[in-house]
């Protein structure tokens, strides 16, 4: 079925693979993204497995020997990479327009044909252990991960995407293979193609490469209701650092909720640009912060609104926290002017 929207054309193969195409012929380049609807939050007791698989997806398949995916990308002048979020895992390629369909060929192949040896599995586990060590060296990453775990009491969003170190140590190659076989299938994926392409070509090529792959089991919805927080939760982490850093986190709504769009505007009002409230009040006028950012972290089941920052030397943490709280409470009670609202909308839409 072809469905026309203002943003992209959509198509669905018989095996359930959804395809979105946006024609943008302004330069002869094309980006393809394959999103799997499985991420860091899906497997209890095996935290980090989705991210581990993301790393292994570059190792090779029955047809493509180890390193071949990168070599093809390099030869064609492209780039590739992948990332894992709580809800999904995404693989992408940027290619010159005359080679874009190679991305589909690779993605279709590695959706079902990946092969891994024990040696490759072990060395990649070691790489991820290094990645975890690097994240533990960043004070903001440490408190952000801890805060996220504290925010969700029951929902698996509380699991770190890289995994708990001891969970990761226990993951075996057969478990990875099982996870891959079970969840990497066309009905659990969305293919996005943007650039100097014709939509008809994309649909034809997608049919050619993905059409013969069988649908698998659907990923089950997570039916865990996160209880309302009864009160505030607090964490202090002391280390060899020179300034206090903080993150304040607020549970929000699911994706697609109207409130999520309003939170995007609040995010802009507070910290986008030099005329934003936090920048003016905290960095410019009072110089009590070196940095402060907010972001509305949209998630499928329940999002989080973040405030993160670094204090100026000598500023007392409690006092800074009270000031931020005051500025937030002002949003509850004081009408903002039309000018400020329109400015935020302009920034959003530009």
């Amino acid at each position: 079925m072809l469905l026309k929207t203002n943003y992209a054309d959509r198509y669905c193969l018989d095996n359930g693979l959804n395809i979105l195409v946006r024609e943008r012929p302004s330069l002869p380049i094309v980006t393809t993204m394959l999103w799997y609807k499985i991420g860091g939050c899906h497997i209890a007791g095996k935290t980090g497995i989705a991210h581990f698989l993301e790393h292994l997806m570059f190792k090779g398949t029955k047809k493509l020997k180890k390193g071949e995916i990168d070599r093809i990308t390099q030869r064609l002048g492209g780039t590739n990479n992948a990332f894992t979020s709580a809800d999904s895992t995404c693989y992408y390629f940027n290619f010159p327009a005359n080679h874009w369909s190679m991305a589909l060929q690779i993605e279709a192949d590695r959706m079902v044909n990946c092969r891994w040896t024990k040696k490759e599995f072990d060395s990649e586990k070691s790489v991820i252990m290094e990645e975890i060590a690097a994240s533990l060296d960043s004070p903001l990453e440490v408190i952000s991960q801890e805060a996220e775990t504290m925010c969700y009491q029951r929902h698996p969003y509380r699991y770190p995407i890289l995994g708990w170190k001891d969970d990761l140590a226990k993951i075996t190659l057969p478990e990875i293979r099982e996870f891959y076989r079970k969840y990497y299938s066309p009905n659990n994926a969305v293919l996005v193609v943007v650039g100097d392409v014709k939509k008809q070509q994309v649909f034809e090529q997608a049919q050619k490469f993905f059409g013969k792959i069988d649908a698998g089991d659907n990923i089950s919805e997570i039916n865990i209701e996160e209880p309302e927080p009864l009160g505030q939760k607090r964490l202090s982490y002391c280390g060899q650092v020179t300034v206090p850093r903080f993150c304040f986190v607020f549970p929000t709504c699911p994706a697609h909720h109207f409130d999520d769009c309003v939170l995007d505007l609040i995010d802009i009002l507070l910290s986008a640009g030099r005329s934003s409230r936090f920048y003016r009040e905290l960095m410019q006028e009072r110089s009590v912060m070196q940095n402060i950012v907010t972001f509305n972290n949209t998630r499928k089941y329940q999002g989080l609104f973040w405030i993160q920052g670094e204090l100026t030397q000598g500023i007392e943490p409690t006092s800074a926290e009270e000031l931020i709280n005051y500025l937030i409470r002002k949003l509850h009670t004081v009408n903002l002017g039309k000018y400020e609202l329109q400015k935020a909308k302009n920034i959003y839409l530009s």
Binding site: T73, G77, G239, R277
Partner: protein, 498 residues
């Protein structure tokens, strides 16, 4: 998807009441999680309580009458099209005052990117940080624009506008040309350099310096550069030191500005939905009165590669050690520049894990999360750096360094493979289109072309030079430019565990 296409409409429909309701519903301190990372040793915090009232008002800001709400523009404008074998269609003018103007028409979207670049001068020794402060203060007010007016104007238009020690960068919608160009002209004609703002900005930089003392990447990189460049200004910290900042006065800022922001020292590059002749007339109108003057010239110490290897360990309470390894690199006009770019692809810059260091040290042995190596970092009028960087845990450090040196020596001793050479060439040439993707990139590219006298047929020449590189060239370049025996190694982290 259907919902996605509704977003602009939803956003335009959000009201003041919606903001209040949603903020009250979710941004509630009593339901929040508060996390702090604090210094181990309690600091002497200021006892002054922060006054809880708004002190930064909107100062009478109103919606500009002619401004209309706007949405995303996906027009079918004719894109910049050219083949890699052609000259870039750059229009080049010089005003009587010596200002160089470069214009590239790219009407794919109704947007413009503009970059004013003023050729480099360095901070006076002992007053490091002057350039950085000057750049910051340029955004903090001029005769017609207060700092608040600048922020509000730029944000309201949804534009990007930033000032730097080297000039000014802007990205905006075509309809806002007049607002942005008038702001830029007033900034360079009559900046305020207010002393109170200078003190505030100094304080901010001092804080950054103190904060970076726990950042292993910053410590590693700056130590590496200071050892390689010794007394050359490239080795001096751009942000200055706590003592150099104290010495900088308003007079120093004014002097730096007057020496650098001079018409005949500057290049103005404009890329986007513009008509070159029309834009030239506009620039002449706005920048024609900008004065030319005799430029300051300074001689700098001649840079030479070290004669011995140096290792420096910097202890820091971390899990991993950050490593910077390398030596002095080459100038941008080095005749072997493109051979080195191909070499970089084979050694440590290849896509994914195609290069030798990533393949061996990261992918095969699992000793680090990523490793990067390049012989051409910062290659400019003065030599850049040949540098390898990675981070690893103490138990993997020695193995990683041994393999790094082994791979480099192997490349010096034995030729690369035909496949490696071919893949590297194809990556570099096919990937050139990505450099032309955004108007900001095009403006920056025009400035580099002019600055380093690369010629408007730069892309064609680069493609030819890359394609003409041979296996013998790679081995010769590796032998000549990679010198592990005189490498400087900086290690920051739990070095006591080594």
């Amino acid at each position: 998807m259907e919902k996605l296409s509704q977003i602009p409409k939803i956003i335009q429909g959000i009201t003041v009441e919606d903001i209040k309701k949603v903020a009250s519903r979710y941004l509630n301190w009593d339901r929040s999680t508060i996390a702090w990372s604090l210094p181990k040793k309690a600091k002497n915090y200021s006892k002054t309580k922060l006054e809880k009232k708004s002190i930064a008002s909107l100062r009478g800001m109103k919606i500009p009458q002619k401004a209309k709400p706007f949405g995303p523009h996906y027009l079918d404008g004719k894109a910049l099209t050219f083949s890699l074998n052609e000259k870039l269609p750059i229009h080049h003018y010089t005003l009587e005052n010596g200002l160089t103007i470069l214009v590239l028409k790219n009407p794919k979207l109704p947007m413009i990117a503009m970059e004013l670049y003023c050729r480099r001068i360095f901070d006076e020794p002992g007053k490091e940080g002057t350039g950085l402060l000057t750049g910051r203060l340029l955004q903090e007010g001029s005769k017609k624009y207060s700092e608040h007016r600048i922020s509000h104007l730029v944000d309201f238009l949804g534009a990007d506008y930033s000032t730097h020690s080297y000039g000014i960068c802007a990205r905006f919608l075509k309809k806002d040309w007049k607002e942005i160009v008038e702001l830029m002209v007033d900034t360079i004609e009559s900046p305020l350099f207010n002393t109170e703002v200078l003190a505030r900005e100094k304080k901010k930089i001092e804080n950054q310096i103190l904060t970076q003392r726990d950042n292993p990447y910053f410590l590693g990189k700056t130590t590496f550069q200071s050892i390689i460049y010794k007394k050359h200004p490239y080795g001096a910290p751009v942000q200055g030191t706590l003592s150099s900042l104290k010495k900088i006065t308003r007079k120093d800022i004014v002097e730096y500005f007057n020496n650098r922001f001079v018409a005949n020292n500057s290049i103005l590059a404009i890329a986007g939905d513009v008509e070159p002749e029309e834009i030239f007339r506009e620039i002449k109108k706005y920048f024609g009165n900008w004065q030319a003057k005799k430029l300051v010239t300074t001689k700098y110490p001649l840079l030479r590669r070290a004669k011995n290897s140096i290792t420096r360990h910097i202890p820091l309470d971390k899990k991993q050690m950050v490593v910077y390894w390398g030596h002095l690199g080459v100038k941008r006009n080095n005749p072997d520049y493109y051979k080195l770019r191909v070499l970089d692809q084979i050694l440590g810059e290849g896509a994914g894990f195609t290069d030798r260091l990533s393949k061996k040290i990261r992918d095969e042995l699992g000793l680090c999360y990523s490793i990067d190596a390049s012989t051409t970092v910062h290659a400019g009028r003065e030599p850049g750096l040949c540098v390898v960087s990675f981070s690893t845990t103490p138990e993997n450090y020695k193995k990683a360094i041994d393999h790094l040196v082994k791979e480099i020596n192997h490349l010096k001793k034995y030729p690369a493979t035909e496949e490696e050479l071919d893949n590297a060439k194809k990556f570099l040439t096919n990937g050139l289109y990505f450099a032309l993707e955004e108007n900001e990139n095009l403006a920056g590219l025009m400035i580099r072309i002019h600055l380093h006298k690369l010629g408007f047929d730069y892309i064609k020449k680069a493609v030819d030079e890359i394609n003409n590189t041979t296996l013998q060239d790679i081995r010769s370049a590796a032998r000549r430019y990679l010198q592990p025996e005189v490498a400087t190694t900086i290690v920051v982290g739990p070095v006591e565990q080594l």
